[in-house]
């Protein structure tokens, strides 16, 4: 187990370097951060050259990247162009988005797996059909539509919640944004669980469990569900990264100052250090979530062993 984890961590290094280099190139080579500093005014060439030198931008791109990586490992993510330390921005935004993602994942798991089990066990019946139709509708309505509609209904029309989230973003205010963020993935989790349950319900071990006279509840939760969760866990693992990055839309609608908000502002203003810093952390989260998923496989399916 320990050796497996170490091997996986080592394998992550090239992917981490590749992904961060790619985003670094995309941000620094495609946009011009120095021109962005000056806004609409054309920068004075001498000043621009001085800033370029100070920010290490007069070096070839690979040297800039090495320099940047070296600084990251010393805990220095650089300074955003408004003078704020990127680490400060990170410390402010990540906890908020982490809470939002947590709410979304919990909703996905609770509602998605329950609906999936219910419909998978009754495949072809009316409950199943209605759940399927519901998931299709949920998948096809984009987040930025469902977000505005739910915000309008719950926050404005029925006045049940605050339509926007306060800067502290406590859990209680993140429930509706969490639902909005979770919706599409929720539908996928439901469908994956449904297919998996419907496939496994005919398996021998289920028949054995039934023959042993185990209560139905125990068969479903301990035998059937545990064996059916692998595709769902795989999906959630890749989804955590997507949720944190894809929270841009949700955060924009509910005015949440999290990762998505910061990256969005960073991209619009060509604020290169912010964008690269935030995406670097996102890549790390994504890679670790995938490792966690692989380790969970062994928990769910005892036949899988990591030597």
């Amino acid at each position: 187990m320990g050796r497996y984890v170490i091997r996986r961590l080592l394998q992550m290094i090239p992917v981490f370097i590749g992904s961060t280099f790619l985003i670094f190139v995309m941000v620094y080579a495609l946009g011009d951060p120095v021109a962005a500093l000056f806004g609409d005014k054309a920068p004075d060439p001498a000043t621009a050259a001085r800033i370029r030198h100070e920010l290490y931008l007069d070096q070839p791109l690979w040297k800039q990247y090495l320099h940047y990586m070296g600084q990251i490992f010393r805990g220095d993510f650089g300074t955003a162009f408004n003078g704020q330390k990127v680490t400060e921005l990170l410390a402010g935004a990540y906890p908020v988005t982490l809470r939002l993602t947590l709410v979304a994942v919990v909703i996905e798991l609770l509602v998605g797996i329950t609906l999936g089990v219910v419909s998978g066990l009754r495949r072809g019946r009316s409950v199943d059909t209605s759940v399927l139709v519901l998931t299709l509708i949920v998948i096809s309505v984009p987040t930025f539509v469902s977000g505005y509609v739910l915000q309008f209904l719950f926050g404005v029309k029925w006045d049940l919640i605050r339509p926007t989230v306060s800067p502290d973003a406590p859990f209680s205010e993140l429930i509706l944004p969490g639902v909005v963020l979770a919706l599409v993935s929720l539908a996928y989790v439901t469908r994956l669980t449904r297919t998996s349950i419907a496939e496994n319900v005919r398996a021998d071990y289920v028949r054995t469990a039934v023959a042993k006279g185990l209560p139905r509840r125990r068969i479903i939760t301990r035998h059937l569900l545990r064996n059916s969760l692998i595709p769902v866990v795989t999906f959630i693992g890749t989804d955590i990264g997507a949720l944190m990055g894809g929270a841009i839309v949700t955060e924009k609608i509910f005015n949440i100052h999290g990762v998505g908000y910061q990256i969005y502002q960073g991209i619009l203003r060509n604020n290169a250090p912010t964008v690269v810093g935030f995406v670097t952390i996102l890549v790390i989260v994504f890679l670790l979530a995938n490792l966690l998923v692989d380790l969970l496989y062994a928990v769910l399916d005892p036949r899988i062993r990591y030597a």
Partner: protein
């Protein structure tokens, strides 16, 4: 938009169905399963419904003039958005009402179809070609090729899709449909590459490949004539479903202001404007959002139907 490019795009959506009919997915009984799948599809209400819807959407995007004679960009401020839609005025410009600049929402919904369909189909075609080739090379040659290409796939997969596309698009001040297609395809090919690699690895050791090799077939012949037809089924399924995802991605980018410029008519951009007026004029949001959802729904239903027809486990 030149008309001929649209005509070229038209058959590409039909392609999955045709390819399904010709290419057998299962190694044991290729021809009969393919024919079976096609017959199965024709009996499925899900497939017929989504197929009809998609044909209709293709027609609208190719000839928007047939459905609305109003200029979608012509605004008349005297026709304010507070005038509610007159649903009885079928096909009239005020059918769906007017937006905040007095432009006909109906005309904008009709003309906006083109961008969504073009981006969806364009990205899917590019992604299938690029991702398919990458996956095929990695799966067939294995060894160092596999390691290298798989790591490259991982690298692109690690970058959040929408975020990456935003960064790329932000570098372009003049964004057209083709820039958006390019940016989405640049980051989106990984899913297809992974599926293709898996399918090719399964097909690579089959007896017919060995037989083809023994008969002296060249690598490209083995790859494209023997392995590809047997590995394409899962790719078609993923590509069809992804098409809907790309349409959502395009509208999300337009909504965030990083897609097409405001001069182009696109549902995402219209939804962005509408979101400012949701309290007093929800109908501006309703029509483009509804069309967008119906379009995505059609492609997802098609993907579902194709998957059910091709996956032997579900039969």
């Amino acid at each position: 938009m030149p008309e001929n490019t649209l005509k070229k795009d038209k058959p590409t959506v039909e392609e999955p169905a045709v390819a399904v009919a010709e290419a057998g997915p299962a190694p044991d009984k290729p021809r009969s399963l393919a024919a079976d799948a096609w017959a199965d599809l024709c009996r499925k209400p899900l497939f017929l419904l989504s197929g009809l819807l998609i044909l209709f959407l293709l027609l609208v995007s190719a000839f928007p003039g047939l459905f609305s004679s109003t200029d979608p960009t012509a605004g008349d401020l005297s026709k304010h958005f507070l005038t509610k839609p007159e649903l009885s005025h079928v096909f009239q410009p005020d059918w769906f009402g007017y937006d905040n600049q007095g432009r006909s929402i109906y005309a904008r919904v009709v003309y906006g179809t083109r961008v969504s369909i073009l981006v969806g189909v364009g990205v899917t075609v590019l992604v299938t070609v690029v991702g398919g080739l990458m996956g095929m090379l990695a799966g067939y040659f294995g060894g160092i090729w596999d390691t290298l290409l798989s790591r490259i796939t991982d690298v692109f997969f690690g970058i959040p899709f929408i975020l990456g596309a935003m960064v790329v698009l932000n570098a372009f001040t003049e964004r057209t449909v083709w820039t958006v297609i390019g940016a989405l395809a640049f980051l989106g090919w990984t899913a297809i590459a992974r599926v293709m690699r898996g399918a090719v690895i399964t097909a690579r050791h089959a007896d017919y490949v060995l037989a083809a090799k023994a008969l002296g077939a060249g690598t490209s012949r083995i790859l494209f004539r023997h392995i590809l037809p047997n590995a394409i089924a899962p790719v078609i399924v993923v590509a069809t479903i992804q098409l809907g995802v790309y349409i959502v991605a395009e509208s999300t980018l337009s909504y965030l202001g990083l897609g097409l410029g405001t001069n182009e008519v696109s549902w995402g951009g219209d939804i962005d404007t509408a979101s400012d007026h949701i309290r007093n004029a929800p109908h501006i949001l309703f029509f483009p959002a509804g069309m967008l959802s119906i379009t995505v729904l059609a492609f997802i239903m098609l993907g579902d139907a194709v998957r059910e027809a091709l996956d032997p486990k579900l039969r």
